[in-house]
Symmetry: C2
Subunit: 431 residues, 2 copies
């Protein structure tokens, strides 16, 4: 029954029942974690054989004859650049392979913009106050980077097809202080939304007022499908090329959630001018990336086909977890008027919008009963969710029985917090 339709007495009774159930959970002393987008131990096992691929008998030369043990090849191995090119939908010449973290490359890219800048414009740090667009809910670590560099963040609402492009276009074309936007275009963090073709084309055809505007296209989940009907993301780089807008895109990907988060390989791609600036930056920053780990990945996967096979194995582990989330949310919360959520075809997260004003309360209730969730507000700039409603669920790490237990508690807390809130609201309105 929809909580909104309940009489005060019904709602009081419901709260009492929920509280009793919550107390029962509390007494169980659970220790579960649904807060972090980490592969499970079972997933990590999928890549263990990779460690055997590179050993003391292996060929240490890249395809272009460079000894991968020594210095050199700052852009990465040709075969690794080709693999990321296939993942990102660009030519290998547009790819720079980095270390183990695409976040690190994004941070360094923003840092480069702050101290050196693009297109002959002043470095961002010398332009006075500047701004970034932050489609929200979004990825907290993106927002943290812009906040760390003192860049003002403007929240842009997420729609089912991606960021609200009317707002993006209006802001970007009128304000030269807006220097960029954070995007997770496929299976977005946390909603699992994939940008529609029209959204991608509108991004590619943006006419920013700022000459040094950049679209950070964090394609973290580009091969992370979970169903037989995976989302299809339009090739952003090609659309930018058609639009004559190759100064806009800066693409990122990594194998963190393909092989090992702690020992993967990251890469970025961009148009020629952007790449030249960042390549110069890198030429001062390092003599070159870890090439043996690249070789190890190449020997394990051979090419993009090997990656796709690996992702099927991940899917076999992850799909049941995401199906469980969908089923349990539907069963416990469907039709109650206390929450809305996403049912993504891929990625690492499920996004739940609980009854407004209840997200912090839900996270606190769960924590007190032994289940860690991502902090409420984390999915918005300055960690401030104006509706206090969005919660990110990360179902990949726990084993299925633990996941079910955590979700049972979560749904209970969503209902309990909503009942509390609604009762309070009725009292406030003198009902």
């Amino acid at each position: 029954m929809n909580y909104q339709s309940m009489t005060k007495e019904e709602l009081l009774a419901e709260r009492e029942a929920l509280q009793a159930e919550y107390d029962r959970f509390h007494a169980m002393n659970l220790q579960l974690n649904m807060s972090r987008g980490q592969p499970s131990a079972q997933q990590l096992e999928l890549s263990m054989k990779m460690l055997d691929e590179l050993n003391s008998s292996s060929n240490m030369l890249s395809s272009n004859g460079v000894d991968c043990r020594n210095y050199g090849l700052p852009d990465g191995l040709p075969e690794m650049r080709a693999m990321f090119a296939a993942m990102l939908g660009v030519d290998a010449s547009n790819v720079i392979v980095g270390g183990n973290s695409s976040l690190n490359m994004m941070f360094d890219f923003i840092s480069c913009a702050m101290t050196h800048g693009f297109k002959g414009e002043l470095p961002w740090a010398k332009q006075g106050p500047i701004k970034f667009l932050c489609p929200s809910p979004g990825y907290d670590r993106h927002f943290s980077i812009t906040e760390y560099f003192g860049i003002e963040m403007i929240t842009v609402p997420m729609k089912s097809y991606g960021p609200d492009m009317d707002i993006v276009e209006a802001l970007v074309s009128s304000d030269e202080r807006i220097k960029g936007i954070w995007c997770v275009p496929k299976y977005s963090n946390p909603q699992g939304i994939t940008y529609s073709d029209r959204t991608v084309r509108r991004f590619a055809n943006l006419k920013p007022r700022a000459k040094d505007f950049k679209i950070i296209w964090d394609n973290a989940y580009c091969v992370h499908d979970l169903t037989d009907t995976p989302d299809q993301l339009l090739n952003f780089y090609e659309e930018c090329e058609k639009a004559g807008n190759l100064d806009l895109p800066v693409l990122f990907a990594s194998t963190s959630k393909i092989t090992f988060p702690g020992a993967g390989v990251a890469a970025m791609a961009a148009g020629p001018e952007t790449l030249a600036v960042f390549r110069e930056h890198l030429s001062f920053q390092t003599i070159g990336p870890d090439k043996l780990n690249q070789l190890r990945h190449i020997y394990f996967f051979k090419d993009i086909g090997g990656i796709r096979e690996q992702m099927k194995r991940h899917r076999a582990i992850l799909a049941p977890k995401f199906q469980t989330v969908s089923r349990m949310l539907r069963e416990a919360l469907g039709g109650r008027g206390v929450a809305e959520w996403t049912e993504p075809n891929g990625g690492y997260f499920v996004s739940v919008d609980v009854y407004p004003g209840c997200a912090k309360r839900v996270v606190a209730l769960c924590r007190e009963a032994g289940v860690q969730l991502t902090a409420a507000g984390a999915t918005f700039p300055y960690k401030n969710d104006p509706k206090d409603s969005n919660i990110r669920l990360a179902p990949t790490s726990p084993a299925l029985p633990e996941l079910e237990q955590a979700l049972e508690l979560f749904c209970l807390c969503v209902k309990l917090a909503a009942a509390e809130k609604m009762l309070g609201e009725r009292e406030d309105s003198g009902e």
Copy 2:
């Protein structure tokens, strides 16, 4: 015979003979490289077994129980921090382990200072023009970083015991725009000089005018001894502690020249306040370093004792090369009055000061005859050696026969360039 004592006729005859010998070399179409501080292929073989140490049967947990395949441990594995602590002479709690490049960590440290700063002072980029001291000859990639960030570089002469500390103390205590100094304190690049105890103590007791002054202590060659009488470097961090100056030191090291330049592990250490600022920086930049490569190193070396054994094996390969350099320079150039050079007890380089005004000519002559040397001037800020005299020899990479051939040509070019120069000078002076 000393060229200075030769008559004009003797010098003309000498030049003619040298030119004939040079032409003979030129006709050989050599292709040799003495320009880069790279380990040889033979040295790289010393670490091949490390690749077998971490395989699909290995224990993936750090000593504190963290799965090294997943996210986490931003400061690095406890056992890896301990190993670098032993190398750098600090407590493990002062160590942060990074990726595969200490240069990258230094760059990021300077970048952090530029955008965020220390001790409540403005970020360096917002303080107006600032300066860095550059003991020279020094490491070109250090100087490139400060130049890239627009920091004015002030050359400080190197003495046999380290930088000229009278000058360092006078500048640092009087000019608050001077924010730091680049140091390679043991087996310096390129001279192979180790700072004397007194020099280290004077550094530790500096009283900089700038509250945010940093001493970049790049201890790249801390375990890279080549003789039975290795240099001993005083513990800089301890001296800073005694002097109540723990805001000064920022120490760096890596295994690039212990295992693999392309796949080693780097680390840094600093006093608590400096470390806290940089650790915060890192917390936005990355979720953590490559922990499996750390584990691989730990399994291979066990502890600092394993490192020391490995360095003996490197020494067995490198010492004959350095002995060859010393012998050939002595034989060919000794007593001629055309060059001075260092005979280091460790490190990766030999520094040669050729007859003033001849360094570029020597490098060009060698290049034309097929031997690559480090560019003349590279060892000074802005690539400008005011005396055009210093040349860095990197004898580690070529095999011994190639090294001998390259050195033979080098010595010949040193003499030829000197003879040319002296003849020109005598003409100028109307002799």
